[in-house]
């Protein structure tokens, strides 16, 4: 394509630098683009709110006050952040290796099932031992559910997006059956399991709230995964597999094994999220205990740039949206499904701004047809 001759003015120099990717544009800053995206998402959704005849200001005020305005609201935000954080952390690992695990929802359900089984049938041990065993069981239950699509992918190259999603529906239907028939509380009328024994319950952190120790597990998990990804050989291999599996294979990385490990880790963390919901919040298995945490966690992980430490903040932000949206629905009459819209809009705007700012990030870094060089460096693709 022929380009008009560019004069060597200050403006043109900036434009050229921007084209080369060393942008001076404010959009370059990921943090700023993040906040801009939030602002835009809220602006667009306020249009929706006024369309249904409610006041956006009132709605957003209710949203913020609901999430942070009281001790109860704030702890509830943290309670909701826990499963998002744990699941989102696991997804960071999977997505870093470009394994598209959409099945976190099902893996959460499997973790919850394992916790319930342990809580109902485990003989009485001191709480510490019971909780450790339950944690392990939930981790491996979730990990097992994720390992199936992982194995199908490495053994036969079956597309994991479809299989993980199908596995969600299978898991949810399975839990539905479990609480209706085999695990149903003896003598009870509702489709729910018996209460788990107290030694399997996660300790409550703040008196008279629902805030349980799961959030500590999430924060600790973020630290562990941060170190795993940034400092260990396994973490490095996971990222190489995501960026360029062929290069990885050539340099002796067992690509299939790494994919499986990434899958099991992400499923395992989702399983722990399921444990948090049962052992920390509901204390029994019920239908629909997860309002789509597994799907929201995908958005959380993407928005956190697949950085475990950032997941802590983003999951709290999203949990605040969920909790606040319930208040918003009550006070301003705005349906709480608005949250899904706000969430996905934020990610779309971040995606868009990244396109403008041309940031080269492993996640948004997509294959190019040619081997274009920029600043003398060959783009790996």
């Amino acid at each position: 394509m022929k380009k008009p001759v560019e004069k060597n003015t200050e403006k043109n120099r900036k434009v050229q630098e921007w084209r080369r990717g060393r942008s001076f544009l404010f959009l370059y800053s990921p943090l700023l683009s993040f906040f801009l995206a939030i602002l835009l998402a809220f602006l667009l959704s306020s249009l929706l709110i006024s369309w249904i005849g409610a006041s956006p200001l009132l709605a957003f005020k209710a949203l913020i006050l609901g999430a942070f305005g009281s001790l109860n609201g704030f702890t509830e935000t943290l309670v909701k952040a826990t499963p998002l954080m744990l699941t989102g952390l696991g997804l960071c690992v999977a997505f870093r290796s470009k394994v598209w695990n959409i099945g976190a929802e099902g893996q959460i359900h499997l973790g919850a099932l394992a916790t319930t089984l342990m809580g109902v049938y485990l003989p009485h041990f001191p709480s510490f031992i019971s909780l450790t065993l339950t944690g392990l069981a939930s981790f491996f239950a979730g990990g097992f559910w994720a390992a199936i699509p992982g194995w199908l992918k490495i053994r036969w190259g079956v597309n994991e997006i479809i299989t993980t999603l199908m596995m969600n529906y299978i898991a949810i239907l399975g839990i539905n059956y479990a609480v209706h028939v085999p695990l149903k509380e003896p003598g009870g009328f509702l489709p729910q399991s018996a209460l788990i024994q107290p030694s399997v319950e996660l300790p409550i952190l703040v008196e008279r709230t629902r805030l349980h120790a799961g959030i500590l597990l999430g924060i600790a998990g973020a630290g562990v995964l941060h170190i795993l990804l940034a400092r260990t050989t396994l973490g490095y291999q996971i990222q190489v597999v995501g960026l360029n599996p062929d290069a990885g294979r050539c340099s002796g990385i067992p690509v299939g094994k790494i994919i499986l490990i990434a899958m099991v880790l992400s499923g395992g963390f989702a399983g722990l999220a399921g444990m948090g919901e049962i052992a920390g919040v509901h204390h029994r298995l019920l239908e629909n205990f997860s309002p789509g945490y597994g799907y929201t966690a995908i958005v959380v992980a993407l928005l956190a740039d697949l950085k475990p430490l950032a997941v802590i903040l983003v999951s709290i932000l999203f949990a605040a949206l969920i909790v606040g949206a319930d208040t918003m629905q009550r006070v301003a009459g705005v349906p709480n499904s608005l949250v899904l819209i706000i969430e996905s809009l934020i990610v779309l705007f971040v995606l868009g701004s990244r396109a403008l700012s041309y940031v080269r990030h492993p996640l948004f870094f997509v294959k190019d047809n040619g081997q274009r060089t920029t600043e003398g460096k060959l783009r790996i693709s």
Binding site: M1, L152, V158, Y169, P335, S344, L351, G352, A355, K367
Partner: protein, 265 residues
């Protein structure tokens, strides 16, 4: 698909005309797929991420709009659905006639579209260009095929057809809209494309297979088998996974699937 389902429903609900409903549903999902096109073709972002996020957006948007318009009443609003159409003479054949020729218009249309789309894909210049853009965009570009425009057309056509599929659920099958009414059918359709080896005839066979699983599941429920209904409901999902494993190695996607095309400067 979700967007099409809701828009078609709303269109019919307000215009009291099923045909208009279909048009509105298709148009809405066509516009929605335009977003997908803009982000992945013009901005060249990752198609998988964009697709996942747009699915979540559609889920939120449709249930928001539905709640906003109808609230959470106990009796969900419903519409007069597309009526079954009897084909003269053929419909009078006992048994076979009732099965094959007592369907609604959309069913006939779906089967008619199979050879039509196969003809367009494999026998016309347009189809050749479309496939070239998917297999080797650089070569297509060299020969003067507008790669980005072709891809836009493909995405929008895909969106319109999905919208039609969504409309079928609300306008012909269930007569109403519920949250996440599609329940993963869009993804099963992707599986059907892979299973059908990227060929309209293959896809038709694959979807028939999934249809049989779904029908079998319904029939078994109605017959009241010992098997819990949850396991019957799992059937289509399990079949999808099994089908994908079974087709391994025999189904080759277009070479440049999911790869954004960048023109060299």
């Amino acid at each position: 698909m979700l967007v099409g389902a809701l828009a078609g429903f709303l269109g019919t609900f307000y215009t009291h005309h099923v045909g208009l409903g279909f048009l509105i549903g298709m148009a809405a999902s066509g516009v929605f797929s335009l977003i997908m096109g803009f982000i992945t073709i013009t901005l060249k972002r990752d198609q998988v991420i964009t697709g996942i996020i747009l699915n979540i957006l559609a889920l939120g948007l449709t249930s928001f709009v539905y709640r906003a318009l109808f609230g959470t009443s106990r009796t969900p609003p419903s519409i007069k659905p597309l009526t079954p159409l009897k084909v003269p003479i053929l419909g009078d054949i006992p048994y076979i006639g009732t099965i094959l020729f007592h369907q609604n218009l959309l069913v006939y249309l779906a089967f008619l579209l199979v050879p039509v789309s196969a003809w367009i894909l494999f026998k016309t210049q347009f189809g050749l260009n479309l496939r070239a853009v998917g297999e080797h965009p650089r070569a297509a570009d060299t020969l003067g095929v507008p790669v980005e425009r072709m891809r836009y057309i493909a995405v929008i056509l895909g969106g319109i057809f999905s919208g039609l599929g969504g409309c079928f659920l609300t306008l012909a099958q269930l007569n109403r809209f519920t949250d996440n009414i599609t329940a993963g059918r869009g993804f099963i359709a992707i599986a059907a494309v892979i299973f059908g080896k990227w060929n309209p005839y293959g896809v038709a066979l694959a979807t028939l297979l999934f249809g049989i699983a779904d029908g079998l599941q319904l029939r078994l429920q109605a017959l009241g088998t010992k098997l819990p209904y949850q396991f019957l409901l799992m059937l289509p999902y399990i079949l999808t996974i099994v089908a994908l494993v079974g087709i391994v190695g025999k189904s080759k996607p277009p070479a440049a699937l999911a790869v954004p095309y960048q023109k060299d400067n």
